[in-house]
């Protein structure tokens, strides 16, 4: 990839961030909040895409990393009275460590076994949030106390109950996520990931340690997912078991597939489209998850590279 196309793609990604920045001035209140939520979920999907889109490992359990971040942030704030910022950083570290630990075991398997094993580990996390309901209050969940709704950063008072502040924080996190992934996938590490995705045995034969390459991808992916979870807990002041359910793992997969796996912006686009699709569908029926099922089947049958994947194949060959 030449420097010119590199600059072109950086401009595109910064442009998307700028667009999201401008979007807040025209959005009505309801959509303002929705977009805040979607941006956090998009960070989750970005993290998922590192593993699925770039390294070619299909995980069915990413909700566990989202939940790790969510609970690590929520529980330390709720029970230990931690401040918002240390809780957030701690949560990202916990999710990254959890991903590394899961990877040590799950990456011993390949192919379909990996998918099933991640699904089951995720289920253990979900069951754990129910089992330790003394601390987590299970399905009912915890509402974070008022003191955790604001914090001081270099002398600036940040109020998390304010929608505009929340929008900026979500946007900031998404921008950071996009830039980190953008940089990573164009670096040597990213090329190793793609090499594993394209042909693992050849990569191994060339002398690369594919296990540690995959472990690195899983750790980065888990940490990003955890960051999304922690931000979700702290911004919306709520943690509950539903965020650890299989549904959330599938959502990350769906967002990524729809937008285009293996493109940086694909998961972001997928999150926006799918979130609104389900939102609209749920006005008509309680069986709104039907939309998830139908979209998944149609995608895999007719549109397996997703929206940005198609664009890249036809016109924008330089898209990372």
């Amino acid at each position: 990839m030449t420097r010119a196309t590199g600059r072109k793609s950086l401009v595109l990604h910064l442009g998307v961030v700028a667009l999201l920045f401008l979007l807040q001035f025209v959005l009505p209140e309801y959509h303002h909040l929705t977009v805040t939520r979607i941006m956090i979920l998009a960070v989750f999907a970005l993290g998922y895409n590192v593993l699925f889109g770039y390294t070619g490992l299909l995980s069915l359990g990413h909700a566990m990393f989202f939940a790790c971040g969510l609970y690590a942030a929520g529980l330390t704030v709720y029970h230990l009275g931690w401040d918002v910022l240390p809780a957030f950083l701690f949560a990202v570290a916990v999710a990254g460590a959890a991903a590394a630990a899961v990877g040590m075991i799950a990456l011993r398997t390949t192919g379909v076994a990996f998918m099933i094993v991640t699904l089951m580990f995720s289920q253990v996390v979900y069951l754990a949030t129910l089992y330790f309901s003394r601390y987590t209050r299970g399905d009912e969940g915890l509402v974070l106390p008022a003191r955790a709704r604001s914090f001081e950063l270099v002398g600036i008072h940040v109020n998390l109950a304010d929608p505009v502040t929340r929008y900026y924080i979500a946007l900031g996190l998404l921008a950071a996520g996009i830039l980190v992934v953008h940089r990573l996938v164009r670096s040597g590490t990213g090329r190793e990931w793609i090499a594993v995705r394209e042909n693992e045995s050849r990569t191994r034969m060339l002398g690369y340690n594919t296990f540690s390459i995959k472990l690195k991808a899983l750790t980065v992916s888990g940490a990003l997912s955890g960051a999304a979870g922690a931000a979700y807990a702290l911004l919306f002041a709520y943690v509950g078991s539903t965020f650890a359910s299989i549904q959330y793992s599938i959502d990350a997969l769906l967002f990524t597939l729809l937008g285009g796996a293996g493109t940086v912006l694909g998961p972001v686009l997928g999150s926006f489209i799918m979130f609104y699709l389900i939102d609209i569908f749920s006005e008509y029926t309680t069986a709104y998850l039907l939309a998830t099922g139908v979209v998944l089947i149609l995608l895999i049958l007719y549109f397996s590279v997703g929206i940005l994947g198609t664009l890249r194949r036809k016109w924008l060959h330089w898209l990372p």
Binding site: G111, V112, T286, L289, L290, G293, I297, L301
Partner: protein
């Protein structure tokens, strides 16, 4: 109750669980063995079997026994039909690619589950057992129906064993499992075998559900639990190994029953799942699986 009788009761519960689990897990195992794909919608075929059983026993028959017998025949046939159709319409078109199949069957999971939600509603409903019959132990009475579930499952497993090892269909299945291309070269219609095996796998799930439905309740979300349990069993037993699946079903069913009884069902599920992690650390190919070259 003393520890001894309590343990007996827990073991009986575990055996019932193991009996039903072995049927459902064998369905998943057969599909994996022959098609080399994982069917995430397996639990929904189970749920569909139970819903059809409820519908038959309430809408068509007044006597629980005749309803049960009818459900035992009709539910697997209908579920097998649904499975055959979805194999033709979806899985065949993506060429049974393992990853694409997982995504497609997740889609099928939602379509079936939400379809049942629309038609059947969100309420849990119960089915009357086909007969009431109590076996009195010195310490407690036990439902005769539950014991008969164990016997019926054993009977079905023997039939399955006979079909796989002694009939032409079984021979063709095993040939396809061993070497797909060679089987095709010998004139075996591999595509038809794939469809048949996928349907048989779904039918096994449906039969398991018909057996268990009078003990548990029928609900549109009931498919998730057997799906996860079947996954655990199939991974521990070794993907595609029938012997391993049966052994693991017994192990997991019993431990689940006993831990549920003594501690809590949630803990039991966590223990079973962590057992998978242990097995994977020491034998990544499962207890009875063959190491990939």
């Amino acid at each position: 109750m003393d520890l001894g009788p309590f343990l007996l009761l827990a073991s009986l519960e575990g055996l019932v669980q193991a009996a039903v689990l072995s049927l459902a897990a064998l369905g998943l195992c057969l599909v994996f063995g022959v098609l080399r794909v994982v069917n995430v919608a397996h639990g929904e075929f189970y749920m569909l079997g139970a819903v059809i059983a409820w519908w038959i026993s309430y809408a068509l028959f007044s006597h629980p026994l005749s309803g049960f017998v009818a459900a035992l025949i009709v539910a697997p046939v209908l579920v097998g039909g649904v499975a055959l159709a979805s194999e033709r319409l979806v899985l065949r078109r993506i060429g049974h690619n393992p990853e694409a199949t997982i995504v497609a069957t997740i889609g099928m999971l939602y379509v079936i589950q939400q379809g049942v939600l629309i038609l059947f509603g969100p309420d849990a409903r119960s089915i009357e057992p086909p007969f009431y019959f109590r076996i009195d132990f010195p310490w407690f009475g036990y439902s005769g129906y539950k014991l008969s579930v164990i016997l019926m499952a054993l009977g079905l497993l023997s039939v399955l064993w006979y079909v796989i090892s002694r009939t032409r269909l079984g021979l063709v299945m095993r040939a396809t499992q061993l070497d797909r291309e060679m089987a095709q070269a010998f004139g075996i219609p591999v595509d038809r075998v794939y469809g048949t095996v996928f349907a048989v796998g779904a039918m096994l799930a449906a039969v398991a559900a018909v057996l268990i439905a009078p003990i548990r309740q029928v609900h549109y979300l009931m498919g998730l639990d057997p799906l996860l349990m079947s996954f655990i069993v199939v991974i521990i037993g070794g993907l595609g190994s029938i012997r391993g699946t049966l052994f693991a079903a017994l192990l997991i069913g019993m431990s689940d029953g006993i831990i549920s009884m003594f501690f809590s069902p949630t803990l039991a599920k966590m223990v079973s799942t962590l057992l998978v992690a242990l097995v994977l650390i020491f034998r990544p190919e499962g207890l009875f699986g063959r190491r990939e070259p």
